[in-house]
Subunit: 231 residues, 2 copies
Amino acid sequence: MDILEIESTIQRFAIFAQLDRQAIADVARSSKPRCILRGQAAFDQGEQANAIFLVLNGRFKAIQMDPDGSQIVTRLAGAGDLIGHLSAFNETPYPVTAVAILDGEILAWGRRTFVDLLLRHPQLSLALIRYMGLSIEEAHKRLHEATNEHVERRIAHAILRLVRQGGRPVEGGIEIPFPITRQDIGLMSGTTLQTVSRTLSAWQKNGIVDGGRQHLVLRDPHAIVAIAEEQ
Amino acid sequence: MDILEIESTIQRFAIFAQLDRQAIADVARSSKPRCILRGQAAFDQGEQANAIFLVLNGRFKAIQMDPDGSQIVTRLAGAGDLIGHLSAFNETPYPVTAVAILDGEILAWGRRTFVDLLLRHPQLSLALIRYMGLSIEEAHKRLHEATNEHVERRIAHAILRLVRQGGRPVEGGIEIPFPITRQDIGLMSGTTLQTVSRTLSAWQKNGIVDGGRQHLVLRDPHAIVAIAEEQ
DNA sequence: CGTGGAGTTGAGTAACTTCAAGGATCGTGG
DNA sequence: CCACGATCCTTGAAGTTACTCAACTCCACG
Protein backbone atom coordinates (compact mmCIF):
# COMPACT_ATOMS: atom_id res chain seq x y z
CA MET A 1 0.00 0.00 0.00
CA ASP A 2 1.51 3.32 -1.01
CA ILE A 3 1.14 6.59 0.86
CA LEU A 4 -1.75 7.87 -1.26
CA GLU A 5 -3.74 4.72 -0.75
CA ILE A 6 -3.09 4.97 2.95
CA GLU A 7 -4.32 8.54 3.02
CA SER A 8 -7.51 7.79 1.19
CA THR A 9 -8.15 4.72 3.34
CA ILE A 10 -7.67 6.26 6.75
CA GLN A 11 -9.63 9.41 6.06
CA ARG A 12 -12.71 7.23 5.81
CA PHE A 13 -12.23 5.88 9.34
CA ALA A 14 -14.10 7.68 12.14
CA ILE A 15 -10.95 8.43 14.11
CA PHE A 16 -9.40 10.38 11.24
CA ALA A 17 -12.51 11.68 9.53
CA GLN A 18 -12.32 15.15 11.09
CA LEU A 19 -8.73 15.80 10.04
CA ASP A 20 -7.92 18.08 7.12
CA ARG A 21 -5.82 17.02 4.12
CA GLN A 22 -2.59 18.20 5.64
CA ALA A 23 -3.15 16.45 8.94
CA ILE A 24 -4.04 13.22 7.16
CA ALA A 25 -0.82 13.49 5.20
CA ASP A 26 1.12 14.06 8.42
CA VAL A 27 -0.50 11.04 10.06
CA ALA A 28 0.00 8.81 7.03
CA ARG A 29 3.59 9.86 6.45
CA SER A 30 4.68 8.84 9.92
CA SER A 31 3.06 5.41 9.78
CA LYS A 32 4.61 2.12 8.77
CA PRO A 33 2.41 -0.43 7.00
CA ARG A 34 2.76 -4.06 7.95
CA CYS A 35 1.20 -7.32 6.86
CA ILE A 36 0.09 -9.89 9.38
CA LEU A 37 -0.76 -13.42 8.36
CA ARG A 38 -3.59 -15.38 9.89
CA GLY A 39 -2.47 -16.83 13.18
CA GLN A 40 0.30 -14.30 13.72
CA ALA A 41 0.22 -11.76 16.53
CA ALA A 42 0.58 -8.01 16.02
CA PHE A 43 1.92 -7.93 19.57
CA ASP A 44 1.98 -10.14 22.62
CA GLN A 45 0.58 -9.61 26.08
CA GLY A 46 3.25 -8.50 28.52
CA GLU A 47 5.50 -7.07 25.81
CA GLN A 48 6.58 -3.46 26.21
CA ALA A 49 4.08 -1.29 24.34
CA ASN A 50 6.23 0.66 21.91
CA ALA A 51 3.75 0.94 19.09
CA ILE A 52 0.11 1.60 18.34
CA PHE A 53 -1.68 0.06 15.37
CA LEU A 54 -4.57 0.79 13.06
CA VAL A 55 -6.29 -2.11 11.35
CA LEU A 56 -6.59 -1.43 7.61
CA ASN A 57 -8.17 -4.74 6.74
CA GLY A 58 -8.41 -8.26 8.09
CA ARG A 59 -9.65 -9.12 11.55
CA PHE A 60 -7.94 -9.41 14.92
CA LYS A 61 -8.91 -10.85 18.26
CA ALA A 62 -7.52 -9.50 21.51
CA ILE A 63 -6.92 -12.30 24.00
CA GLN A 64 -6.15 -11.69 27.63
CA MET A 65 -4.57 -14.51 29.59
CA ASP A 66 -4.21 -14.94 33.33
CA PRO A 67 -1.13 -16.37 35.00
CA ASP A 68 -3.27 -19.44 35.76
CA GLY A 69 -4.10 -19.94 32.09
CA SER A 70 -7.67 -18.68 31.98
CA GLN A 71 -8.46 -16.46 29.03
CA ILE A 72 -11.03 -14.05 27.68
CA VAL A 73 -11.39 -12.34 24.34
CA THR A 74 -11.66 -8.66 25.23
CA ARG A 75 -12.59 -7.54 21.73
CA LEU A 76 -12.45 -8.11 18.01
CA ALA A 77 -10.96 -5.42 15.81
CA GLY A 78 -11.59 -4.81 12.13
CA ALA A 79 -10.90 -2.09 9.57
CA GLY A 80 -10.73 1.30 11.28
CA ASP A 81 -10.09 -0.05 14.76
CA LEU A 82 -7.05 0.83 16.83
CA ILE A 83 -5.16 -1.80 18.74
CA GLY A 84 -2.47 -1.32 21.31
CA HIS A 85 -3.66 2.16 22.22
CA LEU A 86 -4.54 1.34 25.82
CA SER A 87 -1.07 0.70 27.03
CA ALA A 88 0.99 2.66 24.52
CA PHE A 89 0.19 6.02 26.09
CA ASN A 90 0.63 4.85 29.64
CA GLU A 91 3.86 3.05 28.84
CA THR A 92 2.54 -0.12 30.42
CA PRO A 93 2.93 -3.57 28.81
CA TYR A 94 0.29 -4.65 26.29
CA PRO A 95 -2.61 -6.11 28.31
CA VAL A 96 -3.62 -8.52 25.54
CA THR A 97 -2.25 -10.50 22.62
CA ALA A 98 -3.65 -9.34 19.28
CA VAL A 99 -3.92 -12.32 16.95
CA ALA A 100 -4.93 -12.06 13.29
CA ILE A 101 -7.83 -14.38 12.46
CA LEU A 102 -7.57 -13.36 8.80
CA ASP A 103 -4.59 -12.19 6.80
CA GLY A 104 -4.53 -8.44 7.11
CA GLU A 105 -2.70 -5.14 6.89
CA ILE A 106 -2.10 -2.76 9.74
CA LEU A 107 -0.47 0.62 10.12
CA ALA A 108 2.03 1.09 12.94
CA TRP A 109 3.23 4.21 14.73
CA GLY A 110 5.88 4.38 17.39
CA ARG A 111 4.58 5.46 20.76
CA ARG A 112 6.44 8.76 20.74
CA THR A 113 5.46 9.42 17.13
CA PHE A 114 1.79 8.98 17.83
CA VAL A 115 1.91 11.14 20.94
CA ASP A 116 3.43 13.90 18.81
CA LEU A 117 0.63 13.49 16.29
CA LEU A 118 -1.89 13.84 19.09
CA LEU A 119 -0.23 17.01 20.34
CA ARG A 120 -0.04 18.48 16.82
CA HIS A 121 -3.60 17.60 15.88
CA PRO A 122 -6.08 18.24 18.69
CA GLN A 123 -8.92 16.95 16.53
CA LEU A 124 -7.18 13.59 16.44
CA SER A 125 -7.01 13.55 20.24
CA LEU A 126 -10.66 14.37 20.47
CA ALA A 127 -11.58 11.59 18.09
CA LEU A 128 -9.49 9.16 20.08
CA ILE A 129 -11.18 10.27 23.30
CA ARG A 130 -14.57 9.62 21.72
CA TYR A 131 -13.39 6.25 20.47
CA MET A 132 -12.13 5.24 23.89
CA GLY A 133 -15.30 6.44 25.57
CA LEU A 134 -17.27 4.04 23.43
CA SER A 135 -14.88 1.23 24.32
CA ILE A 136 -15.39 1.82 28.02
CA GLU A 137 -19.16 1.85 27.66
CA GLU A 138 -18.95 -1.38 25.71
CA ALA A 139 -16.76 -2.99 28.36
CA HIS A 140 -19.16 -1.94 31.11
CA LYS A 141 -22.08 -3.30 29.15
CA ARG A 142 -20.30 -6.63 28.86
CA LEU A 143 -19.52 -6.57 32.55
CA HIS A 144 -23.17 -6.02 33.27
CA GLU A 145 -24.14 -8.90 31.03
CA ALA A 146 -21.50 -11.17 32.50
CA THR A 147 -22.79 -10.71 36.01
CA ASN A 148 -26.53 -10.48 35.49
CA GLU A 149 -27.47 -12.56 32.49
CA HIS A 150 -27.69 -16.28 31.89
CA VAL A 151 -25.48 -18.03 29.39
CA GLU A 152 -27.90 -18.28 26.52
CA ARG A 153 -28.48 -14.55 26.59
CA ARG A 154 -24.79 -13.81 26.85
CA ILE A 155 -24.07 -16.01 23.87
CA ALA A 156 -26.77 -14.20 21.92
CA HIS A 157 -25.14 -10.88 22.80
CA ALA A 158 -21.73 -12.12 21.75
CA ILE A 159 -23.08 -13.22 18.39
CA LEU A 160 -24.90 -9.94 17.85
CA ARG A 161 -21.58 -8.22 18.48
CA LEU A 162 -19.99 -10.35 15.80
CA VAL A 163 -22.76 -9.32 13.44
CA ARG A 164 -22.35 -5.64 14.20
CA GLN A 165 -18.61 -5.85 13.69
CA GLY A 166 -18.79 -7.40 10.28
CA GLY A 167 -21.87 -9.42 9.56
CA ARG A 168 -22.50 -9.90 5.84
CA PRO A 169 -26.01 -10.34 4.48
CA VAL A 170 -26.32 -13.47 2.37
CA GLU A 171 -29.37 -15.16 0.99
CA GLY A 172 -31.28 -16.64 3.87
CA GLY A 173 -29.57 -14.77 6.67
CA ILE A 174 -26.46 -13.01 7.88
CA GLU A 175 -23.06 -14.60 7.67
CA ILE A 176 -20.10 -14.05 9.97
CA PRO A 177 -17.43 -13.72 7.30
CA PHE A 178 -14.40 -14.70 9.34
CA PRO A 179 -13.43 -17.89 11.13
CA ILE A 180 -14.74 -18.10 14.66
CA THR A 181 -14.65 -21.14 16.91
CA ARG A 182 -17.04 -22.18 19.68
CA GLN A 183 -14.10 -21.61 21.95
CA ASP A 184 -13.83 -17.99 20.78
CA ILE A 185 -17.53 -17.41 21.33
CA GLY A 186 -17.13 -18.93 24.77
CA LEU A 187 -14.27 -16.57 25.57
CA MET A 188 -16.37 -13.65 24.38
CA SER A 189 -19.44 -14.60 26.41
CA GLY A 190 -17.85 -15.95 29.54
CA THR A 191 -18.67 -19.62 29.19
CA THR A 192 -17.17 -22.88 28.03
CA LEU A 193 -16.95 -24.21 24.49
CA GLN A 194 -19.21 -27.09 25.50
CA THR A 195 -21.99 -24.80 26.58
CA VAL A 196 -21.64 -22.76 23.39
CA SER A 197 -21.80 -25.95 21.36
CA ARG A 198 -24.92 -27.15 23.16
CA THR A 199 -26.59 -23.78 22.75
CA LEU A 200 -25.81 -23.44 19.07
CA SER A 201 -26.91 -27.02 18.45
CA ALA A 202 -30.25 -26.24 20.04
CA TRP A 203 -30.58 -23.07 17.98
CA GLN A 204 -29.70 -24.97 14.85
CA LYS A 205 -32.51 -27.42 15.55
CA ASN A 206 -34.88 -24.46 15.73
CA GLY A 207 -33.56 -23.04 12.47
CA ILE A 208 -32.16 -19.93 14.16
CA VAL A 209 -28.55 -20.45 13.11
CA ASP A 210 -26.55 -22.62 10.81
CA GLY A 211 -22.91 -23.36 10.19
CA GLY A 212 -20.14 -25.77 10.88
CA ARG A 213 -16.51 -25.68 11.78
CA GLN A 214 -15.43 -22.08 12.42
CA HIS A 215 -18.40 -20.85 10.48
CA LEU A 216 -21.68 -19.26 11.48
CA VAL A 217 -24.77 -18.03 9.65
CA LEU A 218 -27.74 -16.41 11.37
CA ARG A 219 -30.86 -17.75 9.71
CA ASP A 220 -33.20 -15.81 11.96
CA PRO A 221 -31.40 -12.76 13.36
CA HIS A 222 -34.61 -11.51 14.90
CA ALA A 223 -34.87 -14.61 17.07
CA ILE A 224 -31.37 -13.99 18.39
CA VAL A 225 -32.23 -10.41 19.24
CA ALA A 226 -35.27 -11.75 21.06
CA ILE A 227 -33.11 -14.15 23.08
CA ALA A 228 -30.63 -11.38 23.86
CA GLU A 229 -33.39 -9.19 25.19
CA GLU A 230 -35.75 -11.58 26.90
CA GLN A 231 -36.14 -11.14 30.64
CA MET B 1 -14.21 27.18 46.92
CA ASP B 2 -12.76 30.20 45.13
CA ILE B 3 -10.89 30.15 41.85
CA LEU B 4 -7.43 30.10 43.44
CA GLU B 5 -8.28 27.15 45.61
CA ILE B 6 -9.64 25.37 42.57
CA GLU B 7 -6.45 26.02 40.65
CA SER B 8 -4.22 24.73 43.39
CA THR B 9 -6.42 21.69 43.93
CA ILE B 10 -6.74 20.53 40.36
CA GLN B 11 -3.10 20.98 39.48
CA ARG B 12 -2.31 18.19 41.90
CA PHE B 13 -4.56 15.75 40.03
CA ALA B 14 -2.90 13.52 37.42
CA ILE B 15 -5.15 14.69 34.60
CA PHE B 16 -4.11 18.32 35.02
CA ALA B 17 -0.59 17.89 36.35
CA GLN B 18 1.12 18.48 32.99
CA LEU B 19 -0.62 21.79 32.32
CA ASP B 20 1.16 25.08 32.79
CA ARG B 21 -0.12 27.89 35.03
CA GLN B 22 -2.01 29.58 32.25
CA ALA B 23 -3.74 26.43 31.11
CA ILE B 24 -4.75 25.58 34.67
CA ALA B 25 -6.23 29.05 34.98
CA ASP B 26 -8.12 28.57 31.73
CA VAL B 27 -9.48 25.22 32.89
CA ALA B 28 -10.42 26.50 36.34
CA ARG B 29 -12.06 29.67 35.05
CA SER B 30 -14.48 27.81 32.84
CA SER B 31 -15.59 25.38 35.56
CA LYS B 32 -18.55 25.68 37.88
CA PRO B 33 -18.20 24.25 41.39
CA ARG B 34 -21.12 22.38 42.85
CA CYS B 35 -21.89 20.65 46.15
CA ILE B 36 -23.55 17.27 46.24
CA LEU B 37 -25.02 15.85 49.41
CA ARG B 38 -24.81 12.22 50.34
CA GLY B 39 -27.50 10.30 48.52
CA GLN B 40 -27.88 12.86 45.74
CA ALA B 41 -26.94 12.12 42.15
CA ALA B 42 -24.56 14.24 40.09
CA PHE B 43 -26.47 12.97 37.07
CA ASP B 44 -28.85 10.18 36.20
CA GLN B 45 -28.52 7.32 33.77
CA GLY B 46 -30.34 8.04 30.53
CA GLU B 47 -30.15 11.81 30.94
CA GLN B 48 -28.64 13.78 28.09
CA ALA B 49 -24.94 14.20 28.83
CA ASN B 50 -24.43 17.94 28.77
CA ALA B 51 -21.71 18.19 31.37
CA ILE B 52 -18.55 16.53 32.56
CA PHE B 53 -17.47 16.53 36.20
CA LEU B 54 -14.33 16.35 38.27
CA VAL B 55 -14.56 15.07 41.82
CA LEU B 56 -12.81 17.48 44.20
CA ASN B 57 -13.67 15.59 47.35
CA GLY B 58 -16.21 13.13 48.63
CA ARG B 59 -16.93 9.81 47.03
CA PHE B 60 -19.29 8.71 44.25
CA LYS B 61 -20.52 5.39 43.01
CA ALA B 62 -21.54 4.85 39.40
CA ILE B 63 -24.52 2.54 39.15
CA GLN B 64 -25.69 1.03 35.90
CA MET B 65 -29.21 -0.31 35.77
CA ASP B 66 -30.85 -2.57 33.21
CA PRO B 67 -34.41 -2.19 31.98
CA ASP B 68 -35.17 -5.34 33.97
CA GLY B 69 -33.86 -3.81 37.18
CA SER B 70 -30.54 -5.59 37.52
CA GLN B 71 -27.66 -3.35 38.49
CA ILE B 72 -23.90 -3.20 38.75
CA VAL B 73 -21.54 -0.65 40.22
CA THR B 74 -19.18 0.15 37.38
CA ARG B 75 -16.80 2.18 39.50
CA LEU B 76 -16.19 4.35 42.51
CA ALA B 77 -14.81 7.83 42.00
CA GLY B 78 -12.89 9.95 44.49
CA ALA B 79 -10.84 13.14 44.44
CA GLY B 80 -9.22 13.61 41.04
CA ASP B 81 -11.54 11.30 39.15
CA LEU B 82 -13.66 12.39 36.23
CA ILE B 83 -17.26 11.36 35.92
CA GLY B 84 -19.55 11.76 32.95
CA HIS B 85 -16.68 11.85 30.50
CA LEU B 86 -17.67 8.68 28.64
CA SER B 87 -20.83 9.96 27.13
CA ALA B 88 -20.23 13.69 27.15
CA PHE B 89 -17.93 13.60 24.15
CA ASN B 90 -20.02 11.19 22.17
CA GLU B 91 -23.23 13.06 22.92
CA THR B 92 -24.85 9.89 24.14
CA PRO B 93 -26.93 9.69 27.34
CA TYR B 94 -25.10 9.07 30.62
CA PRO B 95 -24.66 5.28 30.89
CA VAL B 96 -24.75 5.33 34.71
CA THR B 97 -26.15 7.23 37.66
CA ALA B 98 -23.47 8.87 39.79
CA VAL B 99 -24.57 8.88 43.41
CA ALA B 100 -22.65 10.61 46.21
CA ILE B 101 -21.96 8.25 49.10
CA LEU B 102 -20.40 11.11 51.05
CA ASP B 103 -21.11 14.82 50.89
CA GLY B 104 -18.73 16.24 48.33
CA GLU B 105 -17.75 18.96 45.90
CA ILE B 106 -17.41 18.58 42.17
CA LEU B 107 -16.42 20.83 39.32
CA ALA B 108 -18.64 20.94 36.25
CA TRP B 109 -17.92 21.91 32.66
CA GLY B 110 -20.40 22.10 29.85
CA ARG B 111 -19.78 19.59 27.10
CA ARG B 112 -18.88 22.20 24.51
CA THR B 113 -16.71 24.09 27.01
CA PHE B 114 -14.67 21.04 27.85
CA VAL B 115 -14.22 20.08 24.21
CA ASP B 116 -12.84 23.57 23.59
CA LEU B 117 -10.44 23.12 26.49
CA LEU B 118 -9.28 19.84 24.97
CA LEU B 119 -8.71 21.50 21.61
CA ARG B 120 -6.84 24.43 23.18
CA HIS B 121 -4.68 22.29 25.47
CA PRO B 122 -3.34 19.18 23.74
CA GLN B 123 -1.62 18.09 26.95
CA LEU B 124 -5.02 17.88 28.60
CA SER B 125 -6.26 15.63 25.80
CA LEU B 126 -3.25 13.42 26.18
CA ALA B 127 -3.76 13.13 29.93
CA LEU B 128 -7.40 12.25 29.38
CA ILE B 129 -6.42 9.60 26.83
CA ARG B 130 -4.06 8.07 29.38
CA TYR B 131 -6.73 8.20 32.05
CA MET B 132 -9.27 6.50 29.82
CA GLY B 133 -6.75 3.86 28.77
CA LEU B 134 -6.36 2.88 32.41
CA SER B 135 -10.14 2.74 32.81
CA ILE B 136 -10.46 0.34 29.91
CA GLU B 137 -7.73 -1.91 31.24
CA GLU B 138 -9.45 -1.91 34.61
CA ALA B 139 -12.80 -2.78 33.04
CA HIS B 140 -11.25 -5.63 31.09
CA LYS B 141 -9.58 -6.93 34.21
CA ARG B 142 -12.93 -6.96 36.00
CA LEU B 143 -14.49 -8.69 33.03
CA HIS B 144 -11.80 -11.34 33.21
CA GLU B 145 -12.41 -11.81 36.93
CA ALA B 146 -16.17 -11.90 36.50
CA THR B 147 -15.98 -14.75 34.03
CA ASN B 148 -13.09 -16.80 35.36
CA GLU B 149 -12.96 -16.43 39.13
CA HIS B 150 -15.10 -17.77 41.91
CA VAL B 151 -17.09 -15.49 44.19
CA GLU B 152 -14.76 -15.41 47.13
CA ARG B 153 -11.89 -14.29 44.95
CA ARG B 154 -14.03 -11.69 43.23
CA ILE B 155 -15.12 -10.27 46.55
CA ALA B 156 -11.50 -10.10 47.64
CA HIS B 157 -10.67 -8.19 44.46
CA ALA B 158 -13.55 -5.78 45.01
CA ILE B 159 -12.37 -5.06 48.53
CA LEU B 160 -8.79 -4.55 47.42
CA ARG B 161 -10.12 -2.03 44.92
CA LEU B 162 -11.86 -0.20 47.73
CA VAL B 163 -8.59 -0.13 49.63
CA ARG B 164 -6.66 1.19 46.66
CA GLN B 165 -9.22 3.90 46.07
CA GLY B 166 -9.16 5.27 49.56
CA GLY B 167 -8.14 2.81 52.25
CA ARG B 168 -6.97 4.54 55.42
CA PRO B 169 -4.46 2.85 57.71
CA VAL B 170 -5.71 2.64 61.28
CA GLU B 171 -4.31 0.77 64.23
CA GLY B 172 -4.83 -2.90 63.61
CA GLY B 173 -5.56 -2.74 59.92
CA ILE B 174 -6.90 -0.68 57.05
CA GLU B 175 -10.24 1.04 57.18
CA ILE B 176 -12.57 1.81 54.31
CA PRO B 177 -13.44 5.38 55.26
CA PHE B 178 -16.75 5.70 53.49
CA PRO B 179 -20.07 3.90 53.88
CA ILE B 180 -20.32 0.75 51.85
CA THR B 181 -23.05 -1.88 52.05
CA ARG B 182 -22.86 -5.64 51.37
CA GLN B 183 -25.17 -4.85 48.51
CA ASP B 184 -22.61 -2.42 47.05
CA ILE B 185 -19.84 -4.97 47.37
CA GLY B 186 -22.10 -7.47 45.68
CA LEU B 187 -22.74 -5.09 42.81
CA MET B 188 -19.01 -4.51 42.49
CA SER B 189 -18.10 -8.18 42.49
CA GLY B 190 -21.00 -9.65 40.57
CA THR B 191 -22.75 -11.51 43.32
CA THR B 192 -25.63 -11.17 45.76
CA LEU B 193 -25.64 -9.41 49.10
CA GLN B 194 -26.28 -12.75 50.80
CA THR B 195 -23.14 -14.28 49.39
CA VAL B 196 -21.14 -11.22 50.38
CA SER B 197 -22.56 -11.42 53.88
CA ARG B 198 -21.69 -15.10 54.21
CA THR B 199 -18.19 -14.52 52.91
CA LEU B 200 -17.46 -11.57 55.16
CA SER B 201 -18.89 -13.43 58.15
CA ALA B 202 -16.52 -16.30 57.48
CA TRP B 203 -13.61 -13.89 57.11
CA GLN B 204 -14.59 -12.17 60.32
CA LYS B 205 -14.47 -15.50 62.17
CA ASN B 206 -10.92 -15.93 60.89
CA GLY B 207 -9.96 -12.44 61.99
CA ILE B 208 -9.36 -11.25 58.43
CA VAL B 209 -11.89 -8.44 58.47
CA ASP B 210 -14.05 -6.59 60.91
CA GLY B 211 -16.86 -4.09 60.79
CA GLY B 212 -20.56 -3.69 60.96
CA ARG B 213 -23.26 -1.77 59.24
CA GLN B 214 -21.83 0.01 56.18
CA HIS B 215 -18.41 -0.23 57.69
CA LEU B 216 -15.38 -2.36 56.90
CA VAL B 217 -11.90 -2.77 58.37
CA LEU B 218 -9.28 -5.11 56.98
CA ARG B 219 -7.54 -6.72 59.93
CA ASP B 220 -5.27 -8.85 57.78
CA PRO B 221 -4.89 -7.26 54.34
CA HIS B 222 -2.28 -9.80 53.39
CA ALA B 223 -4.78 -12.63 53.80
CA ILE B 224 -7.17 -10.88 51.43
CA VAL B 225 -4.44 -10.47 48.84
CA ALA B 226 -3.75 -14.18 49.23
CA ILE B 227 -7.41 -15.01 48.61
CA ALA B 228 -7.52 -12.69 45.59
CA GLU B 229 -4.53 -14.41 44.08
CA GLU B 230 -4.96 -18.03 44.99
CA GLN B 231 -5.43 -20.40 42.09
C1' DC C 1 -41.27 3.34 70.21
C1' DG C 2 -41.98 2.03 65.74
C1' DT C 3 -40.29 1.78 60.97
C1' DG C 4 -37.19 0.76 57.42
C1' DG C 5 -32.67 -0.16 55.87
C1' DA C 6 -28.97 -3.36 56.63
C1' DG C 7 -27.23 -7.68 57.82
C1' DT C 8 -27.36 -12.83 59.01
C1' DT C 9 -28.27 -17.53 58.28
C1' DG C 10 -30.60 -21.84 56.60
C1' DA C 11 -32.47 -25.02 53.09
C1' DG C 12 -33.41 -26.27 48.51
C1' DT C 13 -32.39 -25.97 43.76
C1' DA C 14 -31.10 -24.50 39.14
C1' DA C 15 -27.77 -23.54 35.93
C1' DC C 16 -23.40 -24.42 34.44
C1' DT C 17 -19.06 -26.51 34.70
C1' DT C 18 -16.20 -30.41 34.58
C1' DC C 19 -14.93 -34.78 33.07
C1' DA C 20 -15.13 -37.95 29.44
C1' DA C 21 -15.27 -40.08 25.00
C1' DG C 22 -16.16 -40.13 20.31
C1' DG C 23 -16.93 -37.94 15.65
C1' DA C 24 -16.12 -34.56 11.98
C1' DT C 25 -13.19 -31.69 9.22
C1' DC C 26 -8.98 -29.55 7.65
C1' DG C 27 -4.39 -29.44 5.99
C1' DT C 28 -0.16 -31.70 5.05
C1' DG C 29 3.22 -34.77 3.57
C1' DG C 30 4.22 -39.21 1.66
C1' DC D 1 -4.64 -39.06 -3.89
C1' DC D 2 -4.93 -40.89 0.51
C1' DA D 3 -3.48 -41.36 5.31
C1' DC D 4 -2.57 -39.17 9.46
C1' DG D 5 -2.32 -35.66 13.04
C1' DA D 6 -4.30 -31.70 14.80
C1' DT D 7 -8.17 -28.89 15.70
C1' DC D 8 -12.69 -28.36 16.24
C1' DC D 9 -17.19 -29.95 17.50
C1' DT D 10 -20.82 -32.85 19.83
C1' DT D 11 -23.15 -35.10 23.42
C1' DG D 12 -23.72 -37.54 27.90
C1' DA D 13 -23.47 -37.89 32.93
C1' DA D 14 -22.03 -36.32 37.34
C1' DG D 15 -20.92 -32.75 40.40
C1' DT D 16 -20.81 -28.15 42.44
C1' DT D 17 -21.19 -23.41 43.12
C1' DA D 18 -23.71 -19.86 44.34
C1' DC D 19 -28.49 -18.11 43.64
C1' DT D 20 -33.18 -17.88 45.30
C1' DC D 21 -36.53 -17.90 48.71
C1' DA D 22 -37.43 -17.15 53.34
C1' DA D 23 -37.35 -15.92 58.09
C1' DC D 24 -35.25 -13.47 61.59
C1' DT D 25 -32.17 -9.95 63.98
C1' DC D 26 -30.04 -5.70 64.68
C1' DC D 27 -29.52 -0.82 64.50
C1' DA D 28 -30.25 4.01 63.42
C1' DC D 29 -33.25 7.60 63.11
C1' DG D 30 -37.31 10.21 63.34
